[in-house]
């Protein structure tokens, strides 16, 4: 390869310091390249000046426009809920299930005068709110907004699951929970609401009754029943015991729920199976909508709740159980990169390094740039430190550096890559990486170490 072939890379500013210096030395001896560089640099300077001058007025932003922007956003957040489109919105799809976990950690907050307040539960456990005699249990990492508080109370569930113990109200007053475009209205009862997906909801009643309303229809759900609704269809089944017990747990009435119940709970709502709507049934007391119309059962997001539970198992030392659950889950959902990432962490804790690296590699190939970057870095460290597979370590660190995510690990990754290259006898490439480390991370400990290594390699 001749130096002339580096012209494009030079103009793209892709050369490292050493390559840059070498190419500039080449310019002194190559009139052709020198002419091209001069032509482009003149044009580029003119381009920059012309565009900057033209775009300068566009860059003027005044405080008034900024204030209008803030007001627009406030308006949108306070607007009445409207039916969401069918598009999948990961942020709106939260929750999962009830009952957090047998950690026995919960917080109790008296939320007086909290209209317009957003409440967020910590990731370590549920949060319980008291609203004028009503009690709300919010699952860990959940978010609920109190829109109105008083004889009529309105909540909007943004993420997670809430369980509610609601005081009986006078005629005309109501307790309303909005979630995923649905409204759950109660008059004195204990129930839970879970927003499962876009336009999908699951409501379980432990005591009393609630009315669940969609567009143009409504249904009454009584104690011991669970309504599952998606789009315009819904059906009512006998409430699975874990869901009913979970209401008490989330409200703080019962500090722990056994793992067995938790493990069985998600299975009750996994998968999509076409079911016929039940006709009026003595067992459920439900009134069906359109007889004979098939409605898919609710799709549980193999999502937030399961992941929360598995993470908590790992934290509380039940790594093997979490691993087994994740193994089953990734078998059924091979594209769930978050689960693969967690499985990689699990396997690593269990010191099954080969399987851990394999799990991370799944994320590298299918994850978002950010997740793939993290996974590549973790796989690289395992390959290097535990498996002594330096060639694979180089490949993983290269992959991480290409992703640029997270940027905080770049210096360490470059250093590890250089070390792996030296193990493989690829000293020249190692030197290039070390010089790059010194250039890009000047002033860091890694850069100082790189300088010393470069000295030793001379």
């Amino acid at each position: 390869m001749t130096m002339c072939s580096s012209l494009a890379s030079y103009l793209n500013r892709e050369l490292n310091e050493a390559q840059d210096a070498a190419f500039m030395a080449h310019l002194a001896d190559c009139p052709g390249c020198a002419r091209e560089v001069a032509r482009w640099q003149a044009l580029e300077a003119g381009l920059k000046e012309a565009v900057d001058r033209v775009e300068a007025p566009l860059r003027n932003v005044d405080e008034l426009a900024a204030a209008r922007m803030a007001a627009l956003w406030r308006q949108e957040r306070n607007a009445e809920p409207r039916r969401r489109s069918g598009r999948w919105r990961a942020v709106a799809v939260a929750a999962v299930l009830l009952a957090l976990l047998g950690l026995g950690l919960w917080r109790f907050v008296v939320a007086g005068g909290s209209s317009g307040t957003l409440w967020q539960a910590p990731s370590t456990g549920p949060l319980t709110l008291a609203l004028r005699g009503d009690r709300i249990g919010l699952s860990s990492s959940g978010e609920v907004e109190v829109l109105e508080e008083g004889p009529t109370t309105r909540l909007r569930l943004h993420r997670g699951t809430i369980a509610c113990a609601v005081q009986k109200r006078q005629r005309g007053d109501a307790f309303v929970v909005e979630a995923a475009g649905w409204a759950v209205t109660v008059v004195g009862t204990r129930f839970s609401v879970r927003a499962v997906g876009p336009l999908s909801i699951e409501v379980t009643v432990a005591q009393g009754a609630v009315r669940v309303a969609g567009e143009g229809w409504s249904a009454v759900v009584r104690a011991g029943q669970t309504l599952r609704g998606k789009g315009e269809g819904w059906h009512i089944v006998a409430a699975p015991p874990p869901l009913v017990e979970g209401i008490a747990a989330l409200l703080g009435d019962r500090p722990s729920v056994s793992d067995r119940r938790l493990e069985s709970a998600p299975a009750a709502s996994v998968g999509a199976v076409p079911v016929d709507l039940p006709s009026a049934s003595a067992e459920t007391g439900a009134s069906a909508s359109v007889p004979g119309r098939k409605v898919p059962a609710v799709l549980t997001v193999p999502g937030l709740r399961d992941m929360d539970i598995w993470r908590d198992w790992i934290v509380s030392g039940k790594t093997a159980e979490a691993c087994a659950a994740l193994d089953r889950h990734t078998g059924a959902h091979p594209m769930d990169v978050d689960a693969w990432m967690l499985l990689g962490d699990c396997r690593r804790k269990l010191r099954d390094f080969t399987a851990s690296a394999d799990a991370y590699r799944r994320v590298v190939s299918a994850g978002t740039p950010e997740l793939a970057g993290r996974a590549a870095y973790r796989a690289g460290t395992i390959e290097q430190d535990q498996l002594k597979n330096h060639a694979e370590a180089v490949r993983m660190f290269e992959r991480y550096l290409q992703s640029g995510h997270p940027a905080s690990l770049a210096a360490e990754a470059t250093m590890r890559m250089a070390i792996a290259l030296m193990e493989l006898g690829r000293t020249d490439e190692a030197k290039v990486r070390l010089m790059e480390l010194v250039r890009r991370h000047e002033g860091t400990g890694s850069a100082a170490r790189a300088r010393r290594m470069l000295e030793e390699l001379k």
Partner: protein, 195 residues
């Protein structure tokens, strides 16, 4: 990004926005509306100033709605630029029929579109000449060239912002440079740089 002591960092602003602080959106707007305006004007040079402002608003509302998606390690500038560019391209797709029908009767264009002389035969200065060269590039090449040569983004950053490969960025840059230099040498042909 905090330019002065006491100025909120990008991270703090995004965290506040994700927590529901609407004033944080005002701060974000003040900091990056200029960047987003330029992004939109570049990607959709046919837009009038009114339309640009509308689309800018939409970009920031989108950023607010997606504030929880924002990952701290992402460069906020690149993230917002990406949203702006996609918003502008979406506008172009959705309005192509209207623009064809109303050609010549739209509002005043902004940015580089406004600066480019409508008549190539007119005596133009160096600046206008360069802008005309630029206007004749295919949009995908022009976008990459501006991000690299004017804004100083690296090839890797541009690839991430636009959701394309680094190799695609290199190819577009190479073709854009070649086209600009060839046209600058030869005067102003009717069209050049077509892929």
């Amino acid at each position: 990004m905090a330019g002065h002591p006491g100025e909120r960092s990008d991270r703090d602003i995004m965290a506040a926005l994700a927590a529901g602080d609407s004033a944080a959106l005002g701060a974000l707007y003040l900091r990056y509306a200029g960047l987003v305006r330029c992004a939109i004007a570049r990607c959709a040079p046919e837009m009038s100033i009114g339309e640009v402002d509308e689309q800018v608003q939409e970009v920031f509302l989108t950023a607010a709605r997606r504030s929880r998606d924002y990952v701290e390690s992402d460069r906020l500038r690149a993230w917002l630029y990406g949203i702006g560019a996609r918003t502008a391209r979406s506008w172009r797709r959705n309005t192509w029929l209207r623009r064809r029908l109303l050609k010549g009767r739209e509002g005043e264009p902004v940015g580089m579109a406004a600066a480019v002389s409508s008549s190539p035969e007119q005596q133009v200065g160096r600046r206008e000449e360069i802008l005309q060269l630029l206007a004749r590039l295919p949009a995908v090449q022009r976008e990459v060239l501006l991000l690299h040569a004017v804004d100083g983004w690296s090839g890797e950053e541009i690839a991430q912002m636009l959701g394309i490969t680094h190799e695609a960025v290199r190819t577009r840059l190479f073709r854009a440079r070649q086209a600009m230099m060839a046209a600058a040498d030869a005067g102003l042909p009717a069209s050049f740089g077509r892929e």
